[in-house]
């Protein structure tokens, strides 16, 4: 009997926990749990494309470099002059072993390397607005490309 009683208590506890958790999950406490309208999707895309556009401008030697306090190049050359349409940036190959650094590196590190070496510019923060924008533009240019990390 005692055995049965504890079993019932156990069932009740588990059930209420389950119901509680389910209710918690169903309550719209975070934005992620809300259904998205077409307008929401458009707004997300607009925000994304704004960043892509900024990346495009930076990559072509313009953009808000002064406002952001960054210098991507001191030679007059922009990334796009050697990487038209972000070709030969190979975002789909990262992370990979990078001969220049003798280590496995990520795309952002290589972006900084190119800012410092061919461009003689000043490296930017790895999480900076400009870095995210450059990455956004480079990725956008390679949309649909098969990811092949580690290839040379």
């Amino acid at each position: 009997m005692l055995k049965n009683k504890s079993k019932i208590i156990w069932i009740i506890t588990v059930t209420s926990l389950f119901v509680g958790v389910t209710l918690f999950l169903l309550t719209p406490v975070s934005a992620h749990k809300k259904r998205h309208s077409a307008a929401d999707m458009q707004a997300f895309d607009d925000a994304y494309m704004e960043v892509v556009k900024m990346g495009d401008a930076l990559f072509h030697g313009g953009g808000p470099q002064d406002e952001l306090g960054i210098t991507l190049s001191k030679t007059g050359m922009a990334c796009a002059m050697c990487h038209p349409f972000a070709s030969d940036v190979h975002p789909h190959q990262f992370p990979k072993f990078q001969e220049q650094m003798s280590e496995v590196a990520g795309l952002r590190e290589m972006i900084n390397w190119c800012i410092e070496k061919p461009n003689e510019g000043v490296m930017i923060g790895i999480d900076s607005e400009a870095m995210v924008a450059l990455e956004a533009y480079i990725m956008w240019s390679h949309k649909g490309t098969i990811i092949e990390p580690g290839t040379h």
């Binding site: 556009k53 030679t75 796009a80 050697c82 038209p84 349409f85 190979h90 789909h92 070496k117 040379h152």
Partner: protein
Amino acid sequence: MAKIHPDQQEMHKVLGGQKQKPDNTMSISRRTFLHKSIISGGVVGAATYGWWPLVNTIDIAHGASNLNFAWVSDTHLYPKTLNTRFVDKAVRAFKEVESMKPDFMIFGGDLAQKGDPEELKLGAQLLKAVTVKKVFIPGEHDWYLDMGALWTKEFGSSPWSFDLKGVHFVGLDTVSRAPDYWSAKNMSPKERMGHMEALDGSVAGPWAGLGQEQLKWLDTDLSGLNKSQPIVIFSHNPLYEYYPPWNFWVRDWREVHEIVRPYSNVTNIHGHTHQVLYNEIGSMRSIGMLATSWPWPYAPEGVPKLTKPHVRVDPGDPFDGVGWAKHRWSQQDRIDHDYMMWDRDVYADATWDSGTGDNPGLALRSRVVDKIWQYE
């Protein structure tokens, strides 16, 4: 090469089906093209596979006497105060050409970066280091700030042609006839140049071409020649469709090929693409020259089948992947063509070394910023 650009498909349709090839008495093998390309003449000589220094030189020996010429192009000079790298490389190329004392030097365009008077005058100054005969054709970077005014004043106008030791040389202007993309938008000269300057820009459109008048000129110029006379045509842009989205072509390539078709010994030497390239289309062979300034990636569609690509470039070394070219037309009626690439082996065997297959998924679409109408 998964994709073929629609325009390239057309090229293959129009010219690929023909059995016509450049004169087959002038055999050229991919192997010999490695370091020495035999572009004209009967016997394929024993090519040497050593690496060259850094310039594009061409040595032509034809008939009884030898003929040498050097090609330098795409120096893309900035004012000295901004960038001395490109100045240093131009100086080096001109010095090497001068010490070689060729019969003449052709400067193949893109002397300046922004067509700025300061850049063009700096170029004219540096060019004084070369005392042999010099001939010039313009590049788009020299032209679109003042529509060629200063370029023409300093370096004369094109097209032109001359004969030297049995070879007929032609210099074309493939840059000055862009359809007007600036007037409707009220662009300033700087804005016009800015759009021309961007290789991946979409505003300047299909600017590379000869135009009707020059096509007629070419037709007339060649018409007096013996059909088998060696003809060398210099142009800034390639005279075929290598990659139209980057303007690695001329838009009127059909007409050009129509005109040269009757001649069996035509060699086109071009700049603009900043990379090692070789192609044979119809009766014409084309050789792409190195820039002295910086190298460009190979087109996403890959390279023409006959091209032995150059090796992947080290972005940390400004002297890598660039140079000039030397050509010699030898007694056996052949051209030895040498890429003079500074700092590096020129050719790659494996695709991982050339990087020709690196950009398979590259999106072919116009720049987002180009879609905004900025001129009200």
